[in-house]
């Protein structure tokens, strides 16, 4: 098995490498543009995937409602920005306030959802919590649809286009650049939070062993709530940035984006934060190249095939720990 997988891996890498080099030589700009497009897409997935992976790491729950938290973040930003816009506030202030409100409200929703739908199920079968999450996701979607509107709403970008790069502006838009930079910053901050702060250490301890963590004086419930809050905050940032990128939102955007991000998180090894980012980038970039050089109809088929292939050879994802099963 080992030699087969190494051989197959080498063969696949060789073929891909050959085509990549060939295409790079034929049309380097196109190659580069596809790469940047993929990078943006991957960053978008990463911002959502982080929340998934953190929650999974700590309570082993696929948080189906995470996509909805992301949608609510974007929706809140839209509402705040529109109200302030009509009151005639300064655009920079609006952008900042919209971001702040989106993050605060998403965190509050993430916190509340955990308290209602997951906390009572902490000792129940894991699938029950999953169904509860699905129910929550349906509820939130319809709540937003009924309270606001089923129509798509235009989302005026909060990030100004830049015109001073004019001859080269087509290579990367200002929003795309912001998305990539923000993802990097969020990653670094999150890394610091997990590695060096008290709460980060508590999170890692809880993820490893809840009972032991509790014995050592960690309030597990608070740690879990904190995880949901942090995950929701990254989702909100993602939500606002994506809404700026595509220029519209409605109540249903959370589902598809959430699904893709979840795949990315699994691809990277669910529960692992660098894994989520790596998985997202691999997924985004390879999707972009696949559409660019093959058929976009089968983009998702390709994404899933990568997932299956990687999981067959690395059953715990790219960076997942392959821990022995606990009895």
């Amino acid at each position: 098995m080992r030699w087969i997988s190494i051989g197959l891996g080498l063969a696949v890498t060789g073929v891909i490498g050959f085509f990549a080099v060939r295409e790079l030589l034929i049309d380097p700009l196109y190659f580069f543009e596809l790469f940047l497009g993929g990078l943006t897409r991957g960053s978008i997935y990463a911002l959502i995937a982080l929340g998934y992976t953190m929650v999974y790491g700590i309570i082993q729950l696929i948080n189906f409602a995470h996509g909805e938290i992301y949608m609510i973040g974007a929706m809140t930003a839209l509402i705040v920005a529109s109200v302030l816009g009509l009151w005639g506030w300064n655009t920079a202030v609006i952008a900042i306030l919209a971001f702040v409100f989106a993050i605060v409200y998403s965190c509050a929703y993430g916190f509340t959802v955990e308290k209602i739908a997951y906390k009572p199920l902490r000792h129940a079968p894991r699938l029950s919590a999953l169904i509860s999450a699905i129910g929550m996701s349906l509820f939130l979607q319809n709540y937003v649809m009924l309270a606001q509107t089923p129509e798509y709403l235009p989302f005026r970008t909060l990030i100004p286009d830049f015109h001073f790069w004019e001859p080269y502006a087509h290579i990367i838009t200002s929003v795309e650049l912001t998305i990539i930079i923000t993802t990097v910053i969020v990653m670094i901050l999150l890394g610091i939070l997990i590695k060096f702060t008290r709460i980060g250490k508590a999170m890692r301890a809880t993820a490893q062993d809840k009972v032991m963590a509790a014995l050592l004086g960690i309030n597990v419930n608070n740690v879990i709530s904190a995880t949901f809050v942090v995950g929701s905050a990254t989702a909100a940032i993602g939500g606002v940035l994506i809404a700026c990128h595509v220029g519209q939102i409605n109540f249903f955007i959370g589902f598809l984006a959430g699904l893709k991000a979840f795949i990315a998180a699994v691809l990277g090894g669910i529960g692992s934060i660098p894994g989520a980012v790596l998985g997202s980038l691999v997924l985004g970039i390879s999707e972009s190249y696949f559409t660019g050089y093959f058929w976009s109809e089968y983009e998702d088929v390709f994404a899933f095939s990568i997932l299956v292939l990687i999981l067959i050879f690395r059953p715990s994802g790219i960076l997942g720990k392959h821990d022995a099963q606990k009895v």
């Binding site: 509402i79 209602i116 739908a117 129940a124 919590a129 129910g135 709540y143 309270a147």
Partner: protein
């Protein structure tokens, strides 16, 4: 907790929700006409509703806690107790049988129609129950096999004119085949990795059906799929529906019989053992991989047969019917009904599929209520509506 504190707590919660839902419930911005609408009435309503909801919610949560403490032994669901009681079992089953036989003649056609849908979900639920409930493999791509069955009937009928009764066993075989083919490479994966890979397979099959026009007619779908014939005789719309109903009843009975027998067979006990403890199971000499593969393939068999019935009933299929939501619905049937429990799954299917139909009275709020109910059922009955009861095997020493 004294009542005063409870009220105080609920007030705090109500206030929290008023703030929480403020932007979405109260403000409505029209970004096109540039007007803002503040709906203060909603603000008040949210407060009042969440106040009472939280009182009730907390009351039941506390009661649940207390119950858990007091009676642990006696948690066998009522229905199981009834079925174990010989004096009661016969009249009860007779009544159920009478109800289902009389059903299509008593109720209008619409009720028969949705009952057929619900019964198809009973089949699917029982099939998935083998995979998820008994063997403990989380399968989020169950709809793939359902699609295989439905398209098998549609295409074989379109190209070769094969009838329902010919395709039904063929699709069962096809389902098993696909189950083995898809299961073989991935059953090494554990838990949620398996879930996401099966989800991937489900989506791959749907996308292929969507794009491969020459094979499946793409998103336009296949129409005019005939309803099953009765020894070569085709019924009119109304009679066909009733006939269909009895076919489905027959298939469901067959499914219940098979699943029941399987559950208590050697392989069935192996599944349950595998679900509970993989390592101990292997130590007992059970071939883990083969056991999992049988569960996966058998589950697929029922899905494919359900697909044939579905195609025959709807008479038109397109890939839209086989999205991931379908897999999720079937999973909800199994979990809400009660994992591993056949009666639970039947109840789950009937409740989950019929409920949204009857909730049409609250048309727009239907899915909102449905989602909320899912959460409520899971929070208060995490083992599902009707919990599974383990068969107790007693050792009887042979008398010498």
């Amino acid at each position: 907790m004294p009542i005063k504190n409870q009220i105080k707590q609920s007030l705090i919660i109500a206030f929290w929700f008023m703030i929480l839902t403020f932007p979405i419930m109260v403000i409505k911005v029209n970004t096109i006409r540039h007007t803002i609408d503040f709906r203060w009435a909603n603000f008040l309503w949210v407060g009042i509703v969440t106040f009472f909801a939280s009182m009730i919610w907390n009351y039941f949560l506390r009661r649940n806690e207390e119950q858990k403490k007091t009676d642990i032994a006696d948690d066998i669901p009522l229905i199981h107790k009834l079925l174990q009681n010989d004096r009661f079992r016969r009249p009860f089953l007779g009544l159920v049988a009478a109800f289902f036989i009389a059903y299509p003649f008593v109720f209008p056609m619409y009720h028969t129609s949705i009952m057929i849908s619900a019964l198809v979900y009973v089949m699917l639920g029982l099939g998935l129950n083998i995979v998820v409930g008994l063997a403990g493999l989380l399968d989020l791509g169950y709809v793939a096999f359902y699609a295989v069955g439905a398209y098998a009937y549609a295409l074989l009928n379109l190209h070769f004119g094969l009838s329902f009764w010919v395709v039904l066993p063929m699709s069962a075989f096809l389902g098993t085949l696909f189950g083995v083919l898809l299961g073989y490479p991935v059953l090494r994966l554990r838990g949620d990795y398996l879930a996401i890979v099966t989800l991937g397979f489900g989506e791959i099959i749907r996308i292929v059906l969507e794009n491969w026009d020459d094979f499946s007619n793409g998103p336009r779908g296949i129409g005019d799929i005939p309803a099953p014939s009765f020894f070569g005789h085709q019924f009119g719309q109304h009679d066909a529906m009733i006939y269909m109903y009895f076919i489905v009843i027959g298939l469901v009975l067959m499914t219940i019989f098979f699943v029941h027998r399987l559950e208590h067979s050697k392989i069935g006990r192996a599944w349950i053992a595998l679900r509970d403890d993989e390592i101990a199971c292997q130590a007992m000499g059970i071939d883990k991989f083969k056991t999992k593969l049988t569960a996966f393939a058998l589950g697929a068999t029922w899905a494919a047969m359900g697909g044939v019935v579905f195609a025959a009933k709807t008479s038109f299929i397109n890939p839209m019917s086989f999205t991931i939501w379908e897999s999720i619905t079937i999973l909800c049937v199994v979990v809400i009904g009660g994992m591993g429990s056949a009666i639970g799954v039947i109840a789950g299917a009937l409740v989950l599929i019929l409920l949204p139909e009857y909730l049409r009275a609250v048309a727009e709020y239907r899915m909102l209520v449905f989602g909320a109910l899912q959460v409520i059922v899971m929070v208060f009955k995490p083992d599902g509506l009707i919990k599974s009861v383990r068969k107790v095997y007693t050792f009887k020493a042979r008398e010498e």
